[in-house]
């Protein structure tokens, strides 16, 4: 047992990381096929010369930033309210939205938007994608912030109230500043979840709102492409850094 566990753990970490490392290594391979041919940065350059990829990247960034701003704001306020008073139906529905299969969330939003368009002169596009992203990332924000609030001492707010602060002032000048690292952590998490989504996005996206994951998906179906490898490395490193920063902030007390 003493010898088995460390060896096993090493194998498990290799299993988790080798596919990504192999993908990363071959993004520097000077050949279109999976045979090592020499070192090159060309594929990285190609990514930025491909106008469809650049447009997809900008779309994804815009969607993730806007959705993150809204979801973080709405989620922070909701988490604060839930901390003050439990509301099982809202907490329950947030967990349900987190566990409900992405494909179901996606088609229900698609059906909902199409139904709304009977009354509104609108079409699927960036706005529907952003609304969908706010909806599915809200639960992440609430859960991260609520977990942080649970470590808080309520008497701080009570003290503020006793000293004459209104509820708003107590929130604004006492709780919110203390909560800031948690809010940033939640926002970063929200951004990664939004930036990465394919299933829901592909269902509610219109003609001019193709996101990066949608393009990667289409390329992955077609076959191996070193550009996708290069793109994958950039996204994985970028999102990985965000997650590390978010984790740091979350664990800071």
């Amino acid at each position: 047992m003493k010898r088995f566990l460390p060896v096993y753990a090493c194998a498990a970490y290799l299993f988790l990381y080798l596919p990504l490392l192999a993908l990363g290594a071959f993004s520097f391979n000077d050949s279109k096929i999976a045979v090592w041919h020499g070192f090159t940065f060309d594929w990285y350059g190609n990514v930025f010369r491909n106008s469809a990829l650049v447009e997809g990247m900008l779309n994804s960034l815009l969607i993730a930033v806007v959705a993150t701003l809204f979801a973080t704001l709405i989620g922070t306020l909701a988490a604060y309210a839930l901390w003050q008073k439990r509301l099982p139906w809202l907490t329950g529905s947030l967990y349900l939205s987190l566990l409900s299969p992405e494909i179901v969330t996606g088609v229900s939003l698609l059906v909902f938007f199409q139904w709304m368009f009977r009354f509104l002169k609108l079409q699927l596009g960036m706005h529907t994608v952003i609304l969908a992203h706010i909806s599915f990332s809200l639960a992440y924000v609430v859960i991260v912030i609520l977990a942080r609030l649970r470590t808080f001492d309520r008497s701080l707010e009570e003290a503020a109230n006793d000293l004459g602060a209104t509820d708003w002032q107590a929130f604004r000048y006492v709780t919110a500043p203390l909560l800031l690292p948690g809010i940033v952590a939640a926002a970063l998490l929200c951004f990664t979840v939004s930036f990465d989504d394919y299933v829901i996005t592909s269902l509610v996206a219109g003609v001019n709102s193709e996101t990066l994951p949608m393009i990667i998906y289409a390329m992955a179906r077609k076959g191996v492409s070193p550009e996708v490898n290069a793109l994958s490395v950039m996204i994985t490193v970028g999102l990985g850094v965000l997650v590390l920063v978010s984790g740091r902030l979350e664990s800071k007390r």
């Binding site: 096993y8 990381y17 306020l77 409900s100 299969p101 494909i103």
Partner: protein, 274 residues
């Protein structure tokens, strides 16, 4: 109005307007008839639900359940020793746990693509094996049910490690010493002491892995190459190629019902961990 009410309103509005209302519309659509170009028409009918009992669709349901069950079981087997190791790693615990979670928070799509890059006919594994003359024809590694299960296990393994670690971390090492003093071999001690204690973690982990596996769409689509159809693919197909929205709506709700059922069955035991 109280501050709390103002704070709650936008979140409640998003949940009602963009989660429950869409589901309600899906519910309504599932009882309507199919429109010629997608969309729905009157009259109201339960035909879409009756069609689920067609043997073709029952086979897809059954396949989804067993693929999800096998993937969950494999995750449990693979995650348990890893979680046990991490929980006893002393000062490096947090680092080792974060190393398990890190790939999970990066792109799911890219992690799936990484396996496609390895497993394709022209992928890394086949190229290397052919280069070494171990094989002459590429092995059919991708686009089959095994590849789908591999993709699911790889994708959701962190979800199993996390709750298992949470229960194992609380385990008092003295219990294992006691078992050893009483003559239990390490394997027996783990089986008779550690496994029963970590049951809530196992329940929570199985819940967190089984549910996304049951509703998987991307993994069977990309790694099964359209040959291993699961419920998620069936739903997507009804809303795109087949243009049968009522039937797609009915299957969506069936899938949602299955998720709720699993939450109830496993959720009670693993509740405090979620």
């Amino acid at each position: 109005m109280k501050l709390r009410t103002w704070f709650l309103a936008p979140g409640a509005l998003v949940m009602v307007g963009l989660f429950f209302l869409p589901l309600l519309i899906v519910l309504a659509y599932s009882f309507l008839s199919r429109g010629a170009y997608g969309g729905v028409l009157l009259p109201w009918t339960i035909d879409s639900y009756a069609r689920i009992f067609d043997s073709l669709y029952l086979a897809i349901l059954w396949r989804s359940v067993w693929i999800a069950a096998v993937s969950t079981a494999l995750c449990l087997l693979l995650a348990f020793p890893l979680a046990l190791y991490i929980s006893r790693a002393g000062a490096r615990k947090t680092l080792l746990l974060n190393l398990v979670m890190l790939p999970f928070w990066t792109s799911f799509l890219i992690r799936t693509y990484a396996w496609m890059f390895l497993l394709r006919d022209t992928g890394l594994i086949n190229t290397v094996l052919q280069g070494l003359h171990v094989i002459h024809e590429p092995l059919p590694l991708l686009f089959n049910t095994g590849a789908v299960i591999l993709g699911l296990v790889y994708g959701y393994l962190p979800f199993m490690v996390l709750p298992l670690y949470a229960t194992l971390e609380k385990l008092d090492p003295a219990l294992l010493d006691a078992a050893a003093d009483l003559g239990a071999s390490p394997v027996v001690a783990v089986w008779r002491v550690v496994v029963p204690i970590s049951k809530p973690g196992m329940m929570a982990g199985c819940l967190l892995v089984f549910i996304p596996c049951l509703g998987a769409y991307l993994t069977p689509d990309l790694m099964g190459g359209g040959k291993t159809v699961m419920i998620g693919n069936l739903v997507q197909n009804q809303f795109t190629t087949s243009r049968d929205w009522p039937f797609g709506a009915a299957i969506s709700l069936l899938l949602m019902g299955m998720v709720l059922l699993v939450m109830r069955v496993l959720g009670d035991k693993g509740e405090e961990l979620l």
